[in-house]
């Protein structure tokens, strides 16, 4: 077969399409393409026929109709008079919110557990191993259900925080200097408020708080200033051999402006207080959210711990010995030799865990957290009866999220790829 490359000089024969390696791959591709297209056409044709039979059409007009239902947790303003599209957006933001917080918490917890698992402490290492095995081998759905059951069965109701007029004490007291109350329907946490608020800019999407905008700008400027300072110190060190003392300047640049702005804005925390049935004043984070977040975090942390452990173990001992031989101190060794190599091993699987966590956040269905599936693929789908449109749209959105994350991963992989010669 491989000798066909020097085919005799003849006219083109049809059999060459199959037997000549120059044309065969083209033939195979064309045939496959036709088959795939035929399959797709078949599916589309079936769908059209089925839709006709049911007397339905395919349009996304329902998205601009009034939604009519309420959503418990919302990051942008929403009332039941808003459209289904707005409800979908609320759901999407809820999905992203729980995913981002989940990834952050799972990373922290995962790193701690992964490092502790390598500890020489016999008891701690065993404890962490059992944690990892326990959470990895049991479905995440069970952990989410356990979390919601724990939160709703074990924690007290808001009423328990009511101060009994006879004794002057409540049955349960709040945590962290009376600022956090864990109840069986939500966790009340302090809200951030500003006495001299700058107000908000109302955009169609969401009101943007000028206060936070200002804080963000100040932070960015401070970080930039700090970098300049470091660069300057570096330059001085290169020229004179003496590095100027920078730590207090650094601290001042980083936190000084921020403190000034916070004081000027009158930044303070408002603790939740019990009023009537429920806590008001602070932020009430629904148990559905907490349970989902906790379940996803605990589960994913077990996987991240394994990734971190494998990453650390993957760096051979010779690397650190070589670094010591070069005269690098332990912290410089860690920063310049071990971490860059370990991160190369750790980050790709870590990001795929982030991807998994984001996809698993659709298990919000088990606790009634209104994420993208709960709004677009749940209530909207049901009220409008547009399952085809709703589910396709939902899948496309999830796909877009996933592709964005994996696209970022590819960029990272390229940037840290070993330049082999």
């Amino acid at each position: 077969m491989t000798s066909a490359s020097d085919a005799p000089e003849q006219g083109f024969r049809l059999s060459q399409l199959i037997y000549d390696t120059r044309y065969r791959s083209l033939t195979i591709q064309v045939v496959t393409f036709i088959l795939v297209m035929a399959g797709v056409a078949w599916l589309v044709d079936n769908t059209i026929q089925n839709l006709n039979q049911l007397g339905k059409d395919f349009n996304f007009g329902f998205l601009s109709n009034r939604a009519g239902y309420d959503i418990g947790q919302q990051l942008i303003p929403y009332t039941n008079d808003n459209t289904h599209a707005r409800a979908m957006l609320v759901g999407l933001l809820n999905t992203l919110w729980v995913s981002v917080l989940g990834c952050a918490a799972a990373t922290v917890l995962g790193i701690i557990i992964g490092v502790l698992r390598l500890s020489h402490n016999w008891l701690v290492a065993r404890l962490m191993t059992s944690y990892v095995e326990m959470f990895r081998n049991i479905p995440v759905l069970l952990w989410i259900l356990v979390c919601i059951a724990l939160l709703s069965e074990v924690t007290p109701s808001p009423n328990a925080y009511k101060i009994n007029p006879e004794t002057g004490e409540s049955a349960v007291s709040m945590l962290l200097f009376d600022s956090v109350a864990v109840t069986n329907r939500y966790t009340a946490i302090p809200a951030i408020e500003f006495t001299n608020s700058l107000g908000t800019i109302d955009t169609a999407f969401a009101p943007i708080s000028l206060n936070f905008l200002l804080i963000a700008v100040v932070l960015i400027v401070s970080i930039w200033g700090n970098r300049r300072l470091k660069a300057h110190a570096h330059k001085v060190q290169n020229e004179t051999g003496v590095r100027p003392v920078t730590w207090w300047k650094s601290l001042l640049i980083l936190f000084g402006p921020l403190l000034v702005v916070l004081v000027a804005l009158g930044f303070h925390l408002v603790s939740p207080t019990l009023k009537g049935f429920n806590f008001t004043g602070g932020n009430n984070v629904s148990n559905a959210f907490v349970a989902l977040w906790l379940g996803l975090t605990l589960y994913t942390a077990a996987f991240i711990a394994e990734i971190v452990r494998a990453g650390i173990l993957a760096i051979s001992k010779g690397q650190s010995e070589a670094a010591y031989a070069l005269g690098l101190r332990p912290n410089r060794t860690m920063k310049l030799v071990i971490l860059p190599q370990a991160l190369r091993v750790i980050i790709p699987p870590l990001i795929s865990q982030y991807l998994n966590l984001t996809k698993n956040s659709s298990l919000a269905i088990a606790v009634g957290y209104m994420d993208l599936r709960g709004t677009l693929g749940g209530v909207t789908l049901n009220q409008t009866g547009r399952e085809l449109e709703a589910i396709l749209l939902m899948m496309l959105i999830y796909l877009a999220i996933s592709l964005t994350i994996s696209g970022l991963m590819n960029v990272y992989n390229k940037s840290v790829k070993l330049k082999e010669r």
Partner: protein, 436 residues
Amino acid sequence: MSTSQTAAFVRKDMLPPQDPPTSQAGLVKWLRENLFASWFNAILTLSSVFVIYLLVTHFYPWFRHSVWNANSLAECRTIIAANWGEGASGACWAMLRERWHQFIFGFYPPELYWRPIAVFLGLLLAVAPVLFTQLPRQMLLFSLAYPLLAIWLLWGGSAWPVIMIAAGFGIGFLALRFLDEVSSILAIVAAIVAPILFWLFAVGPLDDVLSKAIPLAIEPVASDRFGGFLLAITIGAGGIALSLPLGIILALGRQSNMFLIKSCSVMFIEFIRGVPLITLLFVASLLLNYFLPPGTNFDIILRVMILVTMFAAAYIAEVIRGGLAALPRGQYEAADALGLDYWKAQRLIILPQALKISIPGIVSTFIGMFKDTTLVTFVGLFDPLKGIPDFIRADFNWKGIYWEPFVFVGAIFFILNFSMSRYAMYLERKLKRDHR
């Protein structure tokens, strides 16, 4: 030498070694090295002990107060209150005693429990030769026949359709065998087309005739009787087994240098891996009927199985792609040097090796799949984690029983998955040695 002086003292035998200092021996040394090596370590140890203490004090009484004999949760609570005083909490395992079969078999007819059990034992037997290479190779024949046998035993009914499917494979194999001498492409085409034609046109009439002539049937069991772990294992194992061939094709497609084939494979794999399983399950329950010819209708378990197969295929494809990529370049070149064509090279040289190193990954995928089967509860199937417990709690007697099902189902999942993951790790170590 001539010195006849005798040494003042010559030790004839060794002194018994002295006991090491207490800090360097026995328990104390072990404690010092492993638990209290530094102050930080000591803090860690103490906090671990505290955590363990908390866990034990919370859970041990609950287990100690277990009740095994009762007819309802209320009765359980009375018994616990009577034995351990008011306010004591305890596990009510009596629920398991009454309902364990539903956790395992769902609503499968009790007199037919031997069938799923036989299928499960058969599964172990069929998987064994794949997993443990020491076993005789003839057992692989059983592995090949097993899927059809399992389908027949689980769903029952006439054996003829299953035999017909097997016959179709036989025809395909024969076509491949004999036409291969004429032309390998013709053989492959015939091996695919002949069985399909056979199934589409010959099976119906043949089945009628044979069923009338020799009725070879066992009692049929409808899909809606499946539930609990029977359902989870059926969907998980079925999905993985069915997805293997598709996964191999997708992996080869993704590795291929033909642009169209590669992009089709990549699109399929990335699409499936990019969406949550739950949306695919919704496709199975809500949309699949839209995509099939009007009037086609089959039951939800089969629909879920199709989508789960596609889902698993995308993940398996990635695992196998890893296996293919791990093979040294020389293997491909050697196959070319021998003059083998693409399919022969894949069949005889590349795939056997790639699949072998992919087994740990496949086992991990299976563990993930098996855990994910619990999501079928959201399309109305009775999975062991939520479907069955919810159904049991709908009974007046067991209303409000939460922790016991969690513990029981969690323990079974843990045992099965833990042993499988240990096996995967063992295999990984073994394969690593092979390649050194």
